[in-house]
């Protein structure tokens, strides 16, 4: 099967720390990859490098077989949902305005309505983005990421401000996107249970790549699971 992403010997050296150390893995079409690892493990650096926001890296990153240093065209095929979508609380943009920002062609306006309904935010479309709860905002940013029919969705999971109901809704949306719409998903998460339920592949990152493989294989390895559930528990406490 076709590799959508190929990361080869990726190293990112910051002045005081090596954020990523010789990371190599690939992602196939249709994969649902859960990336787990403690705070400062390099998840954000990995995403920033993949999205072209960090260009100071060694190694190569290929999307759809193309080195991303050579062309930025691959970004058209990617939807990105950031962890903390920073914006002014009073920013005069409605839910519809925000989703529309993601739209590359104005002619696809009906696509917006369709996606707002699919993500259960249709009734909020005229509300300002700053008035919404964390979980609702997260769905708006997924809608914005999906509006160009991406082949690949990259999500940095938010750790605060999401209630249980929104979380479950979010997970069922991800599952549907992957299984029914065949969108490849890369998802960094702190919730090992959810990763176990949703992802078919797991990558454990802590500067180096400790594990990358099928999720069954990961969850069968008690030692690894114990180590990473402790790490994510510590992180969870850190965020509260």
């Amino acid at each position: 099967m076709l590799n959508i992403v190929e990361i080869d010997h990726l190293t990112v050296q910051y002045p005081d720390v090596k954020a990523l150390d010789d990371v190599t893995f690939s992602i196939k079409k249709g994969d649902f990859l859960g990336i787990i690892g403690p705070n400062g493990a390099g998840k954000s650096t990995l995403f920033a490098s993949m999205l072209g926001l960090n260009t100071k890296y060694k190694g190569t990153i290929k999307f759809f077989g193309q080195d991303i240093r050579k062309s930025k065209d691959y970004l058209k095929e990617i939807g990105y949902v950031p962890q903390k979508p920073i914006f002014e609380k009073n920013f005069p943009a409605t839910v519809k305005d925000v989703v529309r920002m993601g739209l590359r062609r104005e002619s696809d306006m009906e696509k917006i309505e369709e996606i707002l309904q699919q993500l259960w935010i249709h009734e909020l479309s005229k509300k300002r983005i700053g008035e919404l709860s964390g979980g609702q905002q997260q769905r708006v940013f997924i809608a914005k990421a999906l509006v160009n029919n991406p082949k690949l969705l990259i999500l940095d999971e938010p750790v605060t401000g999401i209630d249980q109901h929104s979380k479950e809704l979010f997970y069922s949306i991800l599952r549907e996107l992957n299984s029914k719409q065949k969108i490849t998903i890369i998802w960094s998460s702190h919730d090992l249970d959810a990763v176990n339920q949703l992802a078919n592949h797991v990558a454990c990152l802590n500067s180096t790549l400790f594990f990358h493989g099928e999720s069954n294989e990961f969850f069968a390895n008690d030692e690894l699971v114990k180590q990473y559930s402790e790490a994510s528990m510590q992180e969870h406490m850190h965020h509260h």
Binding site: L53, P82, E88, N90, F91, P92, T94, D97
Partner: protein
């Protein structure tokens, strides 16, 4: 008297130019305010003061030198801000004081030219010529077309630079474009309210409109309406009562701002 003033051709030019400038300042100002760059207009205006003084000394039409100096300083300060990571407010302060300092030194060297300088400091909308009006209308048209064509890019990079970059928007170029359009707008607006009060036109109608809790387009339309109202009523009232138009226009927009706060505080507008 009240209706008679509407028949004067200088009044037609003043009102037409005023409305164009009102529209221009509120739309460019909206992007600046949302980028936490509210005083940037003020800084460019002050730097243009140096340009005006240079023009008066050299015997060139002062607005041409003002355009040159403002655009160059706006682009330089943006570059310095990006390259050396200086905060927005500090870079604005540097630009603001440099312009005034250069202007004062040039005026000193030339032995002072008071009357002309005053009309640039406080505006002289009733004195705009036919050529000025054509220039103002053309610039307004061009800038509005650019804003409409690049609406999504401008809005998205203002909302969140990082996400805009990931969407393939050339955010740095868009940033320079906004600064460039702001420079053109400021110098064009000098004739209406003068160097000293320009940031009022950029900021006050937008801050007022944002309080209504609407989406981007409605907010922009509200801001333009407030701005046009203040400018038109300001020009007419100031002429009738023989007071300064610039001050009257700004006080009217402050009145709308105060009124909106009042309406909000008694709960007639939703809290945002």
């Amino acid at each position: 008297m009240t209706l008679e003033i509407l028949t004067f051709s200088f009044m037609h030019r003043a009102l037409i130019s005023g409305v164009a400038i009102a529209i221009l300042c509120s739309i460019i100002g909206l992007f600046l305010v949302l980028r936490r760059y509210s005083l940037f207009g003020d800084a460019i205006a002050h730097s243009s003061f140096g340009g005006i003084a240079l023009g008066l000394m050299a015997g060139v039409y002062p607005l041409w030198t003002a355009y040159g100096v403002s655009l160059i300083s706006a682009l330089i300060i943006t570059r310095i801000k990006e390259k050396y990571n200086i905060s927005g407010d500090a870079s604005v302060a540097v630009l603001l004081s440099s312009g005034i300092a250069v202007g004062l030194v040039i005026i000193g060297i030339s032995g002072g030219f008071t009357i002309d300088i005053f009309s640039f400091l406080f505006g002289s909308i009733l004195l705009v010529s036919v050529n000025d009006t054509i220039l103002i209308l053309s610039l307004t048209g061009i800038i509005l077309i650019v804003v409409l064509l690049l609406y999504r890019q401008l809005l998205y990079s203002t909302f969140n630079e990082e996400q805009a970059k990931v969407s393939g928007i050339p955010v740095e170029k868009i940033n320079y474009l906004i600064v460039f359009m702001a420079g053109l707008t400021v110098v064009t607006s000098i004739q209406l309210v003068g160097v000293l009060l320009i940031s009022a036109l950029f900021v006050i109608p937008n801050v007022t409109a944002i309080m209504y809790g609407k989406g981007f387009k409605v907010t922009a339309i509200l801001s333009m309406s407030f701005s046009i109202f203040s400018v038109v009523i300001g020009i007419l009232v100031s002429y009738i009562f023989d007071i300064t138009p610039a001050g009257t226009i700004v006080l009217l927009s402050i009145g709308l701002f105060g009124g909106t706060i009042g309406v909000k505080s008694i709960g007639l507008l939703s809290e945002n």
